[in-house]
């Protein structure tokens, strides 16, 4: 059984009767059992996955209508609710939380006969970019287990990269899908803000976060988007994409398309290997008929500070609900006054979450809001104007997904500002609501490099077409695990 096939290949194979969903899911569970001790992608595995796959096989055999996923095993970042199963957010605070309802993306995937193989690791409440801040321990990069897999959707990227599932759903607040996709050599896609419902995603920073797929191929990302995108009455920030088919015309190519190379994202701090890969990607796009030239987005240099100011403020508000009354862990109330009980219980948040909440209380507070929060919001507005202006001239923008190569576990954990700066190339898409995708492009010293393309809002179809064209120029070695 070849577990390395893409989502579309899997669907075709099950449809044609060449493989059964049950066998594939069973083999996938065996794979998880054999490699996940080393990788720690999964926080929980769905013991009923094989039974679910069996049900789908029965439908295939009897000629009943089968959903588009045909029993495809998918992992889900553990900050999305699946009814009656644990959703921990990789936090002690939600260690035993059982979701009472399905997130909209889960409902849609269930309707299309996806099989949820398990819930995967993340930085606690999606705050981080290495998965080191998970309360249940870090995930490891399958390309070299001494290295971080990126984050916060690290478990998603590891599980796809190491063939522990076919596809995964992550969430991207400042690059949390694209960063681990780049570090683990998978496709990672953040759609236009509003294209995918956030209902049932445990919120960190509502105004900029989006759910996005991590897949083996760009076509698989388009396939996933076809299933999970669209209006949702439970999330009034969702957009109507008129049931767009993102897979159709994906082979359209990029001949004649104008691509802006974002100057501020290939600055002095970029790793030489990443710069070289970026130049190579630009040359390949040009050879496919694209016209590439440099463009400046001046506000990018302030984007990380703006991003952390805004997200910490929203996080402070979002995490206020974890008072250990309705949500929380077993901690007896006896002997505490009401407020001191809550404060004591909230000590169980991890260090990064506490740090961000303190920042989130500090930057919008009286006397500080004008200096930090309001300025951050103004940078966000100006950056949006700049990028909107750029898209009047260019169809797409390009930059490396992450300016550096994956680094060793523990190497940067005590230096929050140097960790922040790794987000410099990804936060722009979040602050402006634009779609962006990371495409596996090169391997340097055994470590992956991803290239990022951005498009204007609701131009996700064009973005996927361009990403597919670039992907076709690349042949990478197989993950060594």
């Amino acid at each position: 059984m070849n577990l390395k096939i893409s989502a579309l290949e899997f669907v075709q194979e099950v449809k044609n009767g060449n493989i059964s969903a049950e066998d594939f899911v069973a083999k996938t569970l065996e794979r998880i059992q054999s490699v996940d001790d080393k990788l720690h992608a999964f926080l929980s595995v769905n013991e009923e996955a094989v039974d679910k796959a069996q049900e789908i096989d029965k439908k295939v055999k009897s000629g009943d209508k089968v959903g588009a996923c045909f029993g495809m095993p998918i992992s889900i970042k553990d900050n999305m609710c699946i009814k009656d199963s644990k959703t921990t957010c990789a936090s002690k605070m939600l260690e035993d939380f059982v979701a009472p309802y399905d997130a909209t993306v889960i409902t849609k995937l269930k309707e299309q006969d996806a099989v949820f193989i398990g819930k995967v690791n993340l930085d606690e409440f999606a705050m981080g970019l290495t998965t080191e801040f998970s309360a249940f321990g870090p995930s490891k990069n399958p390309w070299n287990t001494e290295y971080v897999p990126g984050g916060s959707s690290g478990g998603s990227a590891v599980s796809v990269s190491a063939f522990e599932c076919i596809a995964s759903l992550g969430s991207d607040t400042g690059g949390s899908v694209r960063n681990p996709a780049s570090f683990c050599s998978t496709v990672g896609y953040k759609p236009t803000y509003g294209l995918i419902s956030r209902y049932g995603l445990i919120s960190y920073s509502n105004s900029i976060e989006q759910i996005g797929p991590l897949t083996r191929t760009v076509k698989d990302a388009a396939f996933m988007l076809n299933i999970i995108s669209g209006l949702d009455i439970n999330d009034n920030t969702t957009l109507d994409d008129k049931n767009e088919d993102y897979l159709s015309e994906i082979d359209s190519g990029i001949e004649g398309k104008k691509i802006g190379i974002i100057k501020e994202m290939i600055g002095d701090s970029i790793d030489p290997a990443v710069l070289s890969a970026t130049k190579d990607a630009i040359a390949k796009l040009e050879s496919l008929g694209a016209i590439c030239e440099e463009v400046s987005l001046d506000m990018v240099q302030y984007s990380v500070a703006a991003y952390y100011t805004i997200t910490a403020t929203e996080a402070g508000s979002n995490l206020a609900r974890y008072d250990n009354l309705r949500y929380g862990y077993d901690f007896p109330v006896e002997g505490y006054e009401f407020n001191s009980y809550i404060s004591k219980a909230r000590k169980n948040f991890g260090p990064e979450v506490i740090r961000r909440m303190i920042i989130g209380g500090f930057v919008p507070s009286a006397g500080k809001a004008g200096k930090y929060f309001l300025k951050a919001m103004k940078v966000k507005s100006k950056l949006t104007k700049e990028i909107d202006e750029a898209f009047k001239k260019y169809d797409l923008l390009i930059a490396p997904t992450v300016p550096i190569l994956p680094f060793k576990i523990g190497e940067k954990i005590d230096d929050p500002v140097s960790l922040f700066l790794i987000d410099i190339n990804t936060v722009t898409a979040n602050l402006t609501g634009k779609p962006a995708i990371s495409i596996p492009f090169a391997i340097s010293n055994g470590l992956p490099i991803g290239i990022q393309l951005l498009a204007d809002s609701m131009n996700d179809k064009l973005l996927l077409q361009a990403a597919h064209a670039l992907e076709q120029t690349v042949k990478l070695p197989e993950v060594p695990i």
Binding site: T238, G316, D323, F349, R355, F362, A376, K378, T384
Partner: protein
């Protein structure tokens, strides 16, 4: 400069007990120092744009009956207080 008193005040607002406020002073100071880069962005005259939500996207405002008797689940009383059941196993 971030002071211990400020950290103590913010921690109280955020309802987090912190044993050593001093420990957070340096960490928060490092982050705040970095955020000072916003001062040079030259955005003073910029207007903050707001995300507009089309009214058609709002769900219908109607009563949905909920038949579960929540009051039956409230069995943790102490004096005049009642503790809500946890969303857990």
């Amino acid at each position: 400069m971030v002071t211990e008193e400020e950290i103590e005040h913010v921690a109280k607002l955020m309802r987090i007990e912190i044993d050593d406020h001093k420990e957070f002073v340096d960490k928060v100071q490092a982050m705040i120092d970095y955020f000072d880069v916003l001062d040079s962005a030259g955005v003073e005259s910029e207007e903050i744009s707001m995300h507009e939500i089309p009214i058609s996207n709002l769900r219908e405002d109607k009563h949905i009956p909920f038949n579960e008797k929540l009051i039956d689940k409230l069995n943790n009383y102490k004096g005049t207080y009642v503790r809500a059941p946890k969303m857990s196993t």
